[in-house]
């Protein structure tokens, strides 16, 4: 079974991560390096165990575009999210034995280093991928 692990952040939190504004809430170079080292080890372990299908991080929500029908015509909106709105920030797709195992993997993200106020509110969701097994395959 495949499961998707999702993490979230707001535009404001992305800016802190990028060191903007350079005030007290910005991630320091040490914070940033610790995050990189953690993610590298986390991903390498999942790749080695053969459970990692894919992982990606998404760029800040300000770069997002939304396409929506307006009077029957698709209309594009740039940066559709509010500053403090939490949006998808990154995901992992893992293929593993059980929902519990996928949850165990996601729980390890709780030890991801970062500034205290970020750690205090961070969470990850685990969702089973809706997979349809083909009836026949050559």
């Amino acid at each position: 079974m495949k499961y998707m692990i999702l993490t979230y952040a707001s535009q404001q939190e992305y800016q802190e991560l990028a060191g903007q504004p350079p005030e007290q809430r910005a991630w320091t170079q040490e914070d940033w390096a610790a995050l990189g080292a953690f993610m590298q080890a986390f991903n390498a372990e999942l790749a080695d165990s053969g459970e990692l299908v894919e992982t990606r991080g998404l760029s800040a929500p300000v770069h997002a575009r939304r396409v929506q029908l307006s009077e029957g015509v698709p209309v594009v909106t740039d940066g559709p999210y509010a500053e403090a709105e939490e949006v998808l920030a990154g995901y992992w797709i893992v293929e593993c034995a059980s929902f519990d195992r996928a949850t165990e993997i996601a729980s390890r993200l709780a030890s991801c280093p970062g500034p205290e106020h970020v750690r205090a509110r961070a969470y990850a969701d685990v969702r089973p991928v809706d997979e349809h097994q083909p009836e026949f395959e050559g």
Binding site: Y14, G19, P22, G36, Q40, G57, S59, I93
Partner: protein
């Protein structure tokens, strides 16, 4: 024999085996499957039982046997599906005259042309080249391209299907098509190499393997076409850029600009090899874009520091490159070189010409270069605005953090 040695040997032999089998049976699609199975069998048996007397013949024999089985199964299936339209014997018959026993390097070359055929998408070209010429397994390709194994399998089988459908023969392209087809091969290798440098957080090491694989394939292509100047140029370019990879990242994972790199960590052997290649081909001509980019990389690699770089020569080389192709990123680099050679104002004047070019004026790089030159010219306020604009347009956190640091530094100096 050690696993790593066997793996190395298998990768070198992979295109030769596939070439020999595809030529004999004229069925690239199944020949590729059969070769993969022969390689897998060898990877299991050789480290355990020792190397056969002629590894190449062993692989060809195993692949040919497997291919015969596959063809039989294929034909049986076809007979079941369609008893009327029988296969034409040409597809499984002997190779056409004039194609017997060409050298192995020739087979490798034909494989390059086939895998980088213009009818395939860029993603398929890269995956198929890594598989058929590089001898990488699907899992290895998936890891290198950061793609799911299923996706890679689909890309490869779709690519093989298009080759089959379009009836492209396993042969050198006709002389008239050769330059265009070689351009496509060079572009695929260059894309592969750059893909290796498009590092995502936590994946840097894996991706450098892809850059190294592109260099290995570049060597194979150079071996098959030793007299082609652009093939040499591309190999030199890859070597000269890759030579700096150890100095590119700080221990904390952040990127280090070339001006601040510890040049003692650059790979001298790779630089010497690249320079030797480019020194032979540049005077010979005709001069193409890969040779020019390699020449520029060579000037950087030879300089003891950013300030001691021969910027006048780099400016001249970018000038020639601009004459060959209308490329706004080249124009941007040209402006930087001019600024380094003659001062920031001359560079800014060139940038103002690019300010109306929609291909580059929305790009982070344009604003970052402008900010840097404004700072050097002493216009701190305009530099701050330009850095902020660049940071706003950057979509990569690593790059955003670099730009944020420039902004903090300028604020601090005010």
């Amino acid at each position: 024999m050690a696993d790593a040695e066997a793996e190395d040997l298998l990768r070198r032999l992979a295109p030769q085996v596939l070439g020999a089998v595809a030529r004999r049976f004229g069925n690239f699609d199944l020949a590729e499957d059969a070769t993969q199975e022969a390689l897998l069998a060898a990877a299991r048996q050789w480290p355990r039982d020792g190397l056969p007397e002629s590894p190449r013949s062993w692989l060809i024999a195993v692949a040919a046997r497997r291919l015969t089985d596959l063809l039989r199964a294929d034909q049986a299936r076809r007979r079941r599906e369609d008893t009327v339209a029988r296969r034409t014997p040409a597809e499984t018959g002997p190779p056409p005259p004039g194609e017997r026993n060409p050298a192995d390097t020739d087979d490798t070359l034909v494989l390059f042309f086939l895998c980088c055929h213009p009818s395939l998408s860029a993603a398929s070209q890269i995956a198929l080249t890594l598989r058929a010429v590089g001898g990488l397994s699907t899992a290895e390709i998936a890891r290198a391209l950061l793609a799911a194994p299923d996706t890679v399998t689909r890309r490869i089988s779709r690519a093989k299907q298009s080759i089959k459908d379009s009836g492209i023969p396993f042969a050198r392209p006709p002389a008239g098509q050769l330059p265009a087809r070689l351009d496509a091969v060079l572009r695929v290798l260059y894309l592969m190499f750059n893909e290796g440098y498009a590092a995502t957080s936590g994946t840097e090491l894996l991706r450098l393997e892809l850059a190294a694989e592109a260099i290995r394939l570049g060597r194979a292509l150079h071996e098959a076409l030793p007299d082609d100047s652009e093939v040499s140029g591309l190999l030199a370019l890859m070597l000269l850029v890759h030579a700096r990879h150890r100095a590119r990242t700080a221990p904390d994972g952040s990127l280090i600009a070339m001006a601040e790199q510890d040049r003692s960590r650059w790979d001298r052997a790779a630089i010497d090899e690249g320079i030797a290649l480019i020194t032979v081909v540049l005077p010979r001509g005709p001069t193409g874009p890969y040779q020019l980019q390699a020449a520029i990389a060579a000037v950087h690699d030879e300089a003891p520091s950013a300030d001691a770089t021969d910027w006048a020569q780099i400016t001249a080389l970018y000038g020639v490159l601009l004459g060959l192709e209308d490329n706004p990123v080249v124009a941007l680099n040209h402006a930087v070189a001019v600024a380094m050679a003659t001062g920031p104002r001359a560079g800014l004047a060139l940038l103002s010409r690019l300010a109306d070019d929609p291909r580059i004026n929305g790009d982070r790089r344009f604003h970052a270069v402008r900010a840097h030159l404004l700072e050097r010219s002493g216009d701190r306020h305009a530099a701050l605005d330009a850095y902020a604009e660049a940071a706003r347009r950057a979509t990569n956190l690593q790059q955003q953090r670099y730009l944020s640091r420039q902004i903090s530094r300028l604020h601090g100096s005010g």
